[in-house]
């Protein structure tokens, strides 16, 4: 596997940073690859768009930051406005469809959508929307194996929430399978 770059974005409180942590952990600890996870600090990280950046490679990661990500996960309109204009053509854009409205800026991207937050709310806990999204991400990309992502997720959350997070992850997987079966739009 050559170098892969992913940006996960949303607003503070959605668990974006934890998602980056889990993705990197899945790749480096459970898939045996190299992964570097970084995040934005500073004033730009407060309130507005929040982002986690993950680089995955079978070789050691020399350059720790993403330069030209091929996967962009967007869980807020603010993050959409900030990161989509600079996102590469034909990159895979994954959105939370209830929180993000797509416009002509995304017409050259492959787009996959999932109502991650709605699914989480239906489970009674909006906070697991990020885990739903990770289940989806593991299914629709080959960044990490599904087992690695599951293992990384379930070892990164409080033990008493394992059952809830497992359901959230599986729901994301299920939506991912459906999305793959339906084909990629865009």
């Amino acid at each position: 596997m050559s170098r892969k770059e992913v940006r996960l974005s949303g607003f503070g409180g959605q668990g974006i940073v934890l998602s980056g942590m889990i993705l990197g952990k899945a790749a480096s600890i459970y898939d045996g690859k190299h992964a570097t996870f970084t995040q934005s600090y500073g004033p730009e990280a407060r309130g507005g768009a929040c982002a986690a950046e993950v680089v995955i490679n079978s070789q050691p990661v020399h350059y720790p930051h993403i330069v030209d990500p091929e996967v962009l996960v967007v869980m807020s309109q603010g993050a959409y406005n900030r990161y989509v204009p600079e996102f590469r053509e034909s990159g895979l854009l994954i959105i939370d469809m209830d929180l993000v409205t797509v416009d002509e800026q995304a017409e050259n991207h492959r787009i996959l959508s999932i109502p991650a937050t709605r699914i989480a709310e239906e489970m009674g806990q909006r906070v697991v929307a990020n885990i739903v999204m990770l289940g989806f991400l593991a299914t629709v990309t080959d960044l990490v194996s599904i087992d690695a992502m599951r293992e990384a997720a379930l070892t990164s959350i409080p033990k008493r929430t394992i059952e809830l997070n497992t359901r959230a992850f599986e729901a994301g997987l299920e939506h991912g399978r459906k999305a793959m079966a339906a084909g990629v739009s865009g």
Binding site: M21, G24, S28, H34, F37, T38, Y41, Y63, P64, A152
Partner: protein, 399 residues
Amino acid sequence: MSRRVSRPSTGKQGVLEGEFFMLGDDACAEGAICAGCRFFAGYPITPATEIAQRMALRLPETDGIYVQMEDELASMNTIVGAAWAGVKAMTATSGPGFSLMMENLGLAIMMECPCVLVNVQRAGPSTGLPTLVGQGDMMQARWGSHGPYSIIALAPTSPQELFDLTIDAFNLSELYRLPVLVMTDAEVGHMTEKVVIPPYDEIERAERPRPAVPPEEYEPYRCPPGELVPPMAIAGEGYRFHTTGLTHDERGYPATADDRVQWSLVQRLIDKIEKNRDRIIRLAEDEMDGAEVVVVSYGIAARTALWPIEMARAEGIKVGLLRLITVWPFPEERIRELAGQVKAIVVPEINMGQIVLEVERCAAGKVPVISVPHPGGGIHKPEIVLAAIRRAAGRESDL
């Protein structure tokens, strides 16, 4: 009646083992704990805060002590005291705090206190860019405290190496009885990667030399014949002695009447490092055989240089990397040797040219030395370093 002094244990209680996806700053704290550090005094500052935070959480779990200090002067002073109390002690800071620690860094050097000071460098001067990377304190690490001395400074490139080098820093500080600097930066400190923590019993831990004589014969600054590091008694063990930041004789008493004591003391403080350069200095070399151009760098700048180095190799330029794991003492011998072998040396660093001055000094005009500066706030764009490598190799650069 004698009072027993209670000290933190250094056992394996609470020490981690295994593979973790871990923040660099956290890896530094875990490295310290694996090295036997059981005392941390500090004042939080971005981007070093997570080290203090982790130590505040972890030291109570490992029978250690965390003290939140009122500022960085007190932090450095407190670990000097902790060293005399017999514990392995550390503090961690960044730019402004590093400046505040300089005076008491000198005290630790003069008193010969083993301890570790971590500087997670950010971009300065002054408050600068608190959350963003810099390597602008490399000369301050060498010369920041007043007066003549030698020091040891290490520069990690990854969370794993930050873990490993924090252990090395403790071991060097114990062996040579001085404060050792871990000169990391905001990139490495705030980066999360896999960190392998080996089993506790497989980690090498050095201990300071201890007195072999009874208390009544002990002189705190008398070295055994042929040695440069005096055995260190611990306060409370019955060895009564005096120690001071004043120039002192072997008994630890001030000796300020003439410069002979100053000569022998300062010379020994320098010699104990410089005469052990071969044991202390560590370098990582990559494809140096037959290299026409060599990149000399350290820390995050050396790591990110690997990308443009690969690009240059793909263009057919023979380029090697000499990475300084130990920045101080500076590997003069190796740079002198290289200066006779290669076409040019390229030195990327995230400051406006600090270690390049040492490289130039050692190259002594025998070979061009190309500085690739960066004021901080970001890491070098690969094309900038690539352009310098091309120029060094005598290739036209379109950049």
